[in-house]
Symmetry: C2
Subunit: 272 residues, 2 copies
Amino acid sequence: MALTSGSSSGETPCGPGNAGVFLPHGKQAWPAQEPSARAFNPLAERLRRDGLPPVALVELDRGLVEVRSFPPGAAIIREGVASTRLHILLEGWGRRTADMDCCRQTMSFLLPGDVCDLNRLRDTNLSYGVGALTRCRVAVLDIDSIRRAASTQLAVAAALLGLAFDDHAASLRYAASLGRRSAPARLAYLICELWARTRAAGLALDDGFMLPATQQDLGEILRLTNVHVNRTLKLLRGEALLKLERGKLTILDWERLAQLGAYTPPAAPSHS
Amino acid sequence: MALTSGSSSGETPCGPGNAGVFLPHGKQAWPAQEPSARAFNPLAERLRRDGLPPVALVELDRGLVEVRSFPPGAAIIREGVASTRLHILLEGWGRRTADMDCCRQTMSFLLPGDVCDLNRLRDTNLSYGVGALTRCRVAVLDIDSIRRAASTQLAVAAALLGLAFDDHAASLRYAASLGRRSAPARLAYLICELWARTRAAGLALDDGFMLPATQQDLGEILRLTNVHVNRTLKLLRGEALLKLERGKLTILDWERLAQLGAYTPPAAPSHS
DNA sequence: CGGAACGTTGACTAGGATCAACTCAGGTGG
DNA sequence: CCACCTGAGTTGATCCTAGTCAACGTTCCG
């Protein structure tokens, strides 16, 4: 109910129980006008690369309740509202936020293939909310189905464990990148990380990516004011490291940008 | 080998394959002079409370390789060195750190019962190191044994998933608590969190806990300089919220401290 | 055309960093 | 026993990064 709250545009093409979310084969679950086959089912693709057998995907797929659509700025998950549903971002950009005493804090951006609220498997209450940065399409799954799947198919449990680890590792890297570093270093790091993630999600352009975030949004994740984000962008532009115009971020000098951000690309996992 | 690096004092009483780490029953694995039965085997206690059946504990226990001891300041895990061992803190305080370009960053303190490098189950390379704040006793386990245990005993996989989620949730809360908040708010939050964790680990005193960290250490986790930590402590002392002398932290006004830190105690998990 | 949201720039402020000096407790060796 | 050293805590003076406030430009959209 909290999830239905006035933000969805009513597009829920999947009937409950239909196959489709985890199975690349189950394309009948979506209308045919999908633009890109690569971005079609990002989580399934990721899990498949991870070595999850198709059988396990079928198992997970049983948990699908519906696919919902959210306009930009809508709340996908409200902070502090318990739910027995798991949300997977299929399309669009989201963000994890927490309302602190002073102002809103963004903990991470979410890209297609990311599970918004994986922690719910542990605790149905979350300490954060999830909002839509752009228009988003979100797969809604039933937690108990997923738990059942994990307890019958070991591969499912392993896959979830893998996702949790990745998420955790990213949080740690992110926390480290903040701290007593300068605004330019933090911004550079963020761009490097997003560049890697957009490429992994198949969303990257040749020399950059579409960044659907305002300077205010960037400030919330970098812990800067929009004004200072502006100045910092200007600085990096002046250094010919990158440029950001009309939502398109272009990387001009990857070497120096990665050096400034002290960014080291995460190694590929050694095991599933 | 990286783990043997010149810091251990040679105390490794357990032969490989001995029972003891996860099994509260297997007390023969330690010398008899253990001071407190409650702090004796903190992770096992935690997992037991979580509903992990004793059989699964036996399974995990097979992975025990040795128990190592580290003096204060020693490196328990060196950043960037791959390893096939998992480390569980049995006694003492540790910290997760990453060396950034400018200075060292601490991501979290580790207390007895915490797994230092759970991520290694996913990727044998870590993006952080672990150091000993006090003298530490650490159980060293073989990763492959744990993986095998998780793939035969579902309860083991579930327990690991639970630990990963808890760790992840703590990271997110921590990242949120930093950000654009003032030094007093951050310090207050840290104290609140440590107060909850020391109580959970059975290490708390009546009205506080032993905090074996210098003001420099506190600065590294709070992203402040030691000088500013000092001033902030002085401020909180002046407000009669807490005092810290000779390593003993005393909470004088819990209500106002929690309010200042915007601390909300984490809810108990709804499922295992 | 008008309004709203975002981006841009300047002037000023403040929270925390930096640098430096000093105190204090504990340990070590003569 | 005292002299000395070291690491931590404490305090003051000064600097600088980023926040705040405010104005104006630009883009987009109804």
